[in-house]
């Protein structure tokens, strides 16, 4: 685990991981889009608007998982003082921001035909909005302070 985050190893593993992801990305994207938009049947209650759920729910989960990862890695960095953990944390923040933003926008697009409104101030949606603000704060902090002075 610690060797993976060592300065000399991290870019080697990242290059390998990027090549692997690039090799499977377009195939998986095509399969997923075919099932989401063509092959899966409409919901008996929501009709075809249920297809938005195929992007909305995973986006929300990834947004929350990114936030949890940042919290856990920050604790690990506080204890073990491994500088590359900061690098990983800095890289996760924009991913979390994008997926949280996606969850809010697609949720809004699903809400209009289903609930008849683009936005409702209920606990789930409001907490996602708070997450979005936290991500923005984190990114602004990283941009202003820089990685070396964190």
């Amino acid at each position: 685990m610690f060797k993976l985050f060592a300065s000399s190893n991290i870019f080697f593993w990242i290059e390998k991981l990027i090549s692997f992801i690039n090799s499977i990305f377009f195939v998986l994207l095509l399969v997923a889009l075919s099932f989401a938009l063509i092959f899966s049947p409409p919901d008996y209650l929501q009709g075809d608007s249920v297809r938005i759920m195929y992007v909305h729910v995973p986006s929300a989960w990834i947004g929350l998982a990114s936030f949890t990862s940042i919290a856990l890695l920050s604790i690990a960095n506080f204890i073990f003082k491994i500088k590359n953990i900061k690098l990983v944390t800095k890289s996760i923040a924009p991913i979390g921001l994008m997926f949280t933003c996606l969850a809010i926008v697609t949720g809004s697009l699903w809400g209009q035909p289903t609930w008849g409104t683009w936005w409702a101030w209920d606990a789930r949606i409001t907490s996602m909005l708070i997450f979005l603000m936290k991500y923005n704060t984190e990114l602004i902090k990283l941009k202003n302070k820089g990685l070396d002075r964190l």
């Binding site: 060592a6 300065s7 000399s8 190893n9 870019f11 080697f12 990242i14 889009l33 989401a36 938009l37 063509i38 409409p42 009709g47 075809d48 608007s49 297809r51 938005i52 992007v55 909305h56 986006s59 073990f80 003082k81 491994i82 500088k83 690098l87 800095k90 890289s91 924009p94 991913i95 994008m98 933003c101 996606l102 926008v105 697609t106 697009l109 699903w110 209009q112 035909p113």
Partner: protein, 75 residues
């Protein structure tokens, strides 16, 4: 068939907007991540030179280097 797919029983506008926004976000994120990755890699190379994993492994096995690095965890 194509009209049905585009219209989706009246939900087409919402569904296609959601999927288009998602794909656009993925493209944006990929570009941002790529730029950020190249920037960090260049910073790393500028700081540590072109020390690859193989050379680093050999360097780490040398006793003198182990003694030097034993007290510096936060490099």
């Amino acid at each position: 068939m194509i009209n049905e797919l585009l219209n989706m029983n009246g939900y087409g506008l919402y569904v296609w907007s959601a999927f288009s926004f998602t794909l656009l976000s993925f493209l944006t994120l990929y570009s941002v991540a790529k730029v950020q990755y190249i920037r960090e890699r260049n910073k790393f190379i500028a700081k540590y030179g072109s020390l690859d994993a193989q050379k680093a492994r050999v360097a780490r096995t040398q006793t003198i280097n182990q003694e030097i690095l034993s007290g510096s965890q936060s490099i």
